[in-house]
Point group: D4
Chain length 164, copies 8
């Protein structure tokens, strides 16, 4: 089965990361979600990566804060696409996690999304877009989502707009 | 034909962006490369997007500096994966381009790579990883590249290392 | 009719942006206010721009947060003056929105105001100043406003000041 | 005569600011250009402001670096639109000048452009857009400029583009 | 009479700035305290400066936030020492005010203290140190204050310290 | 007796720094903990350093916020290893303390840990790692701690994980 | 004799700091200038401070880069006014030195000037302003300097200005 | 044999990192130095760590730039002290490497030194200080180094100082 694998570095990331999972669910994309740390459980992380890849993981999503090495560690363990969500945790509010996730050296890409909640949702969207390259049904869902998003803007506007 | 489409915002980005194209070429991945601006030629950008998508573009890569809106503009025009290279140009050395590229709102992802040269190379790598999900030959090339990178580290080390 | 057009990127910007509208109202300057997104509803944005311009919009004001492309998108669609309000939303507190709004390439200006509330009020003031170039009554109101602001300072001071 | 007034804080700003003047000249917009400092010659600045306004200045453009108070000082002396160019000078490369120019308090707007060269050119463009509200010929020139900019993109692209 | 003059840019700065006044009071240093703005009441600011200087002001302290021009405006109006307190107000939490206060051009110094509360107290201390150059009683008070501060550290420590 | 010495600059740092002490206690490493300031009680700081070193202090840990000079002051007074905890206090949220602690000149190292709570815990861990070079029992405790941390990750994950 | 004392942390600061000395010389203010480090020669620094204060030092100026503790160390050793010049040295271009110099705790002020050259000149100016409180001749020189600075602006302007 | 192990992430780091090795050599501390990458050669890094630890490595020093994960990866593989040198490479000049190295989660410390050259030298110094806890000869060398550094300051000063 083709699926998306979400790895978060810490229990405290769950509230935000669950929105990534919710987005995948909304589009009917199967996913796995675990906690594993680049530093505290490197063996577990590596073992999980191998198993997930063998089972059919197409895209890996990593969420971590501060010196956020998790996405980079995943990227070093697979040649599947790895996406990174820099968490907003800690005193630097995610600027550290953003730099730690995005500034990867040549040959080891992490496709990085926005810090925090928007990034969690968008990691799911980008994973879905990647899956949709092989799945026309998914592609149609993405196009419908765009239309509904545009309609939502109109609806939101209608509640407050002033037109002369 | 399945290919990668590279759009850069300005002629001055070419020296860096050409390294993205070189990387795709090295892996035998077909690509298109054009200059088109989110601001100066929005119609052209949009028209190109449609044509490229119709012809088989699988992944779009956008390179822009300063208030780098190009990747976001592409993301708004397609449901294909869009990757962003924040250019180092201008007095803020790419921190502005990084923020403008990565901090996208929920539903409009841009998979962002490092500022500058490493990002240009990695946008190609991530695109290749995405293409490789449907192309086993490419997958093998990526795995071989990893091995050769690891060997390069050993070789580099051997020239300077001190072992007791 | 000559008027000011305010476009905000999201419903959540309304509390702050309404202060922009309030300021225009205080000076008797007609305005339109809608929600439209550079990314989620680019067609709507563009269509609105054309209609507003045809109806007499003199100045466009765009308010958006994070990777704030809205002002730039408006600037690319009109040769009327475009003013930008970088919103304080998101983990980077508006520094991302400021860079995304102000660092526009040559030929595509966005007159950018302060992040957040002060910027929302000042976008209105700058629009009024531009309208006042053709409206002597408005010019007098602006001059009176200055006098009343100076008096307000004196009044505020009188409540707490210590003079030897 | 209606004209644009450019004030720069220091002789060393001239190389960059001259590009603002060049842009105005290209569009046939009359301008004045002087050096005057918010701190070193506050009287001169104020006196000049009054005279320029009396002579027909429609828009003021201020260019200054570091703790860039010049645009704010002009804004406090007139109710005409004031635009600010944060210069790239000094060890902080213009981030200080950007904050000092853009973060104005409510009621005292400075329409701020990008740091450095792009900002110098864009201050001229924004001033021209404001002038064009009363000048149809100028409006047409602005629209033609857009077309020529879009063509320039195509031309630039044709030199390097790769199309499959 | 020799005294210290405190000028704050806005009523909202009073809570913090009052700690500057309290510190002066504790050392028996006379002071004036008013609200006046560099932008909203430039004439009042200038007039006050002249009167205060004529009455015996030895040191001026300016407190302002965001694009904090007040200290620089005072510095341009007097050759007496001017000290600056960058306020923490606004989305950038005082980094803007710090840059706007401290990065003054050669010949127009503002002796800048820390952002916020510590800066408010320290502006008073630095003013007292300057006054103490001509006042031996004040000098002794400063030395006693140092001793009492050192004792306070010991006392604080004794409540929690662990010594083997 | 060999022990770790913790010095904090201010009573307000205690809540965070106590977590450093707790960590040492958990590993059975003796420690001293006092308040002493680089600026308010430099003599006390120096005197304490000498006594602590004579009594057997192996590692010094300094916690301070804002212009955090304490760790550097300790480093200048001893050739024992000095570790620094940049506190999150003040408007700049510890970025000032981080720079003030870590950017030491050649020859005067401060081994700097993360801003705030994670740094407080990690200063203890690094001190324990240093002590463990001479203490095999401690080394075993550190290895057991790693195992328990890895298990904790598994346990945390088991509560929320989704595996296909 | 009343004089100003300049202490710099490193030989490499001399080129910039010499401009501080030149400014004092231009105004006929006597000064001492030495190299002494907060970290490498704390005893020498302290001993020098005492001697300088005994000989008549009125104001201390400290110049240091990176984790710039020198000004704070001087401030802790004297109740005379201490001014700080954050040097531009190192990869962070003086932002670290600025934070390390200006963010002092309550009761230990450092009057901080701009990073680099402008700061070096302004530390001299602020010291002269402080000395001028007791020296009418110096006060007149400062006022004449202001006039000559204003004239210099006019002269500079006359070379390039465009007046309609 | 007890020794220090230096690992750098890339050949391009060698010029700076060699100064770390030079410092160890000056103090007669044996060291190993290799290139190995957290991402490109994770197996090699891990294998080397084990061998080095078995052979007697007491302290590990990691040097890496941009999203600098190397020090954290070492820290996750050993309970020996790990020190980090954030390299100045890339457009963000080492601010990314600093955050990626220092902001480690609780339980996984990296003792971080300054960005660039000063950090490379200081990683050696801190390693020597750690080794000196078990080596009195080394302790004496460190104390002599302090004395010679203090003398060097005096010598440097004597060449330029001005004493009244």
């Amino acid at each position: 089965m083709k699926f998306v694998s979400i790895v978060m570095g810490s229990r405290s990331d769950y509230d935000i990361v669950s929105q990534c999972a919710e987005t995948l669910k909304k589009f009917g994309v199967p996913y796995e979600l675990i906690i594993s740390s680049a530093h505290r459980s490197p063996e577990r992380t590596k073992k999980y990566m191998k198993e997930a890849e063998a089972k059919g993981a197409q895209v890996f999503i990593a969420a971590a804060g501060m010196a956020a090495h998790l996405a980079g560690a995943l990227a070093a363990s697979t040649t599947k696409p790895v996406l990174g969500i820099p968490m907003e945790s800690g005193p630097l509010r995610g600027e550290d996690a953003l730099f730690s996730t995005v500034m990867m050296p040549a040959g080891m890409p992490v496709g990085t999304l926005a810090i925090g909640k928007a990034g969690a949702v968008n990691a799911a969207y980008l994973a879905i877009q990647i899956m949709a390259l092989q799945d026309d049904e998914l592609k149609i869902k993405l196009q419908e989502d765009r239309i509904s998003k545009a309609k939502k803007v109109e609806l939101d506007s209608s509640e407050i707009e002033t037109i002369l």
